[in-house]
Amino acid sequence: MKRTAAILIANPLSALGVALVALVVLSAVFADFIAPFPEHRGAVVDFANFNKAPGWPYLFGTDLVGRDLFSRVIYAYRISLMLGIVVLAIAVPIGVTIGLVAGYFGGWTEAVLMRITDVFLSIPPLVLAMSMMGLLEPTLTNGMLAVTAMWWPWYTRLVYNLTRGEKEEGYVLAAEVIGASRLHVVFREILPNCVPAVLTKMTLDLGFVILIASSLSFLGLGVQPPTPDLGSMVADGAKYLPDSWWLTVFPGMAILIAVFGFNLLGDALREILGVDQ
């Protein structure tokens, strides 16, 4: 653990990753203390201060009803991060289990499970999530559901490929020879060896879930106002380019910073844990 931390800090790029992720996570957790106008996360209006360019006390300027953009970006981080964590918490166990079972048991189980996975993988992710969101009501919960539905197959694919490799290894054969149950072999022998790859992918994906969720709300198919969301902020502001550029540029940069941070961190983890691309 200590060694990992030391390696992370030693490389400037991974140190930047750590810093950016810390920035995002800390501002999400301590939003109530950092945001100068916490009440602006909701449906308040302050027409006296609408559409103000960045300055003091509005670091990122204000939106068209006079809400502080900086405060809203901070609270949007909280929601994006929560969404990312919930999606992965559901999608990863499902995807990993299916991948393990398909890879280890083979035969018909494998054929059926992997074809189902292929079906999900052959609808472009954003399109699948879009149509699900449209058909359900666009709420935060349904947003998580839609993104989860498109996310698990990637873990199935990853773990399936790993399992097929691991299954021929000596330690698996040894466990089978001494009569370990198939469940034991799958979850206690093979699964631990998939952990580094899954962990790396989860770090990268935390960023990508934020990216996809913001894409959905950009199209009006995600989190609904007045909940602050980076994607819908960009969509609302895009109508007022170029004069009110801050309405789009700051929320857009906020997405970039979060995803870039998780990407750098994920890449660094990949190298430290020795995971192939």
Binding site: L13, P124, S131, M133, G134, G252, N263
Partner: protein
């Protein structure tokens, strides 16, 4: 039968099975939604009889498997039903909007290959040195923002602050081009109007680049990773000991084996292009599938949603079959292998 033909037939078979699965999945999603599609389509003012008549016409009172059978029977005749939003056959709607989207995606795909792969090669050749670091950071930034953010930023810089490119649309209103294929780059050439062609191409630059950016990053990163691995192989050392110049080693010996995994990923990345096109089109007011897709989704227009998703998935599968074909042609182990 040559091995390449056999491989393609096998892939076609699997793709067909997957496509049937896609149709079932999207059909299931469309039918489990809460609310009565007929009521939604007709609005709150329609009478109960009108709703009942529409339910009858859409077979909504039949059991689900039977509804699916009706759907497949219609599909087999190229009939995706009528859009409740435009009141036209879904196939007509899609045929109208698809070419603009396809044109954008194809140009973005070409940019992805023609910019991404060379960047990856350069990065691998100078690994550890500054060009490598610069390219890696740019590539990672490229994948780190959704394409609508890139679209907005590119538009702000290169259309507003530096008015080099048009802000929106496919072509200036002053040009009138007879529509033959729906692809403006082709239609303008067919009409022999070089200035219109230039104008259409000019309109394509920013949206296509915004759409391609994350793919460029992805392609560069993957090509680099594969080439760095290839550089450790003995045949590279051999080429070096012959005294071949670094450039030739990079372009001929290290790049070629890396091309196959890169192509596979580019094929899979097409899914991202197809999805992200919706975002870029929204920013640049591109008259493609995006506006139609979002409109029918917001109106819960079942036939149109199912049709659009089905067409997009079919395109994705076709692109990947083409990629597999390319790989089979490139890879001597497949191309030259004998029937076993």
């Amino acid at each position: 039968m040559s091995p390449v033909v056999r491989l393609i037939l096998k892939r076609l078979g699997i793709s067909l099975i997957v496509l049937v699965g896609v149709s079932m999945l999207i059909f299931a999603i469309a039918r489990v939604i809460p609310g009565d599609p007929a009521r939604i389509a007709l609005g709150p003012n329609a009478s109960a009889e009108q709703v009942e008549a529409l339910r009858e016409r859409l077979h909504l009172d039949e059991p689900l498997p039977l509804q699916y059978a009706y759907f497949i029977a219609d599909l087999a005749q190229g009939d995706l039903g009528v859009s409740l939003y435009t009141n036209r056959p879904v196939t007509t709607d899609i045929a109208q909007f698809l070419p603009a989207t396809l044109e954008l995606i194809i140009v973005a795909g070409l940019m992805m290959i023609m910019i991404g792969l060379p960047l990856g090669v350069l990065s691998a050749r100078y690994r550890g040195a500054w060009p490598d670091n610069a390219i890696r950071i740019v590539a990672m930034l490229g994948v780190s923002a959704p394409s609508f953010v890139w679209a907005v930023i590119l538009m702000l810089i290169f259309a507003f602050f530096l008015p080099l490119f048009p802000i929106a649309g496919r072509i200036a209103d002053s040009f009138s081009v007879p529509s033959v294929t729906g692809f403006l780059l082709i239609d303008t050439l067919l009409a022999g109007d070089i200035r219109a062609f230039g104008n259409a191409a000019w309109h394509l630059v920013l949206p296509a680049f915004a759409l391609a950016l994350s793919g460029i990053g992805q392609a560069a990163r993957l090509t680099r990773a594969n080439m760095v691995e290839t550089y450790d192989r003995p045949f590279i050392e051999m080429a070096r000991s012959y005294g071949f110049p670094e450039r030739r080693i990079a372009n001929r010996y290290a790049f070629r084996p890396s091309l196959i995994p890169s192509l596979t990923i580019i094929g899979l990345d097409f899914a991202a292009l197809l999805g992200n096109a919706f975002l870029v089109e929204a920013v640049f007011a591109w008259p493609g599938l995006s506006r139609y897709g979002v409109a029918v989704i917001l109106r819960k227009d079942l036939n149109a949603i199912v049709g659009t998703v089905l067409i997009i998935s079919a395109m994705f599968l076709i692109v990947n079959i083409v990629v597999d074909l390319l790989i089979a042609l490139i890879n001597p182990r497949i191309r030259l292998s004998q029937r076993s």
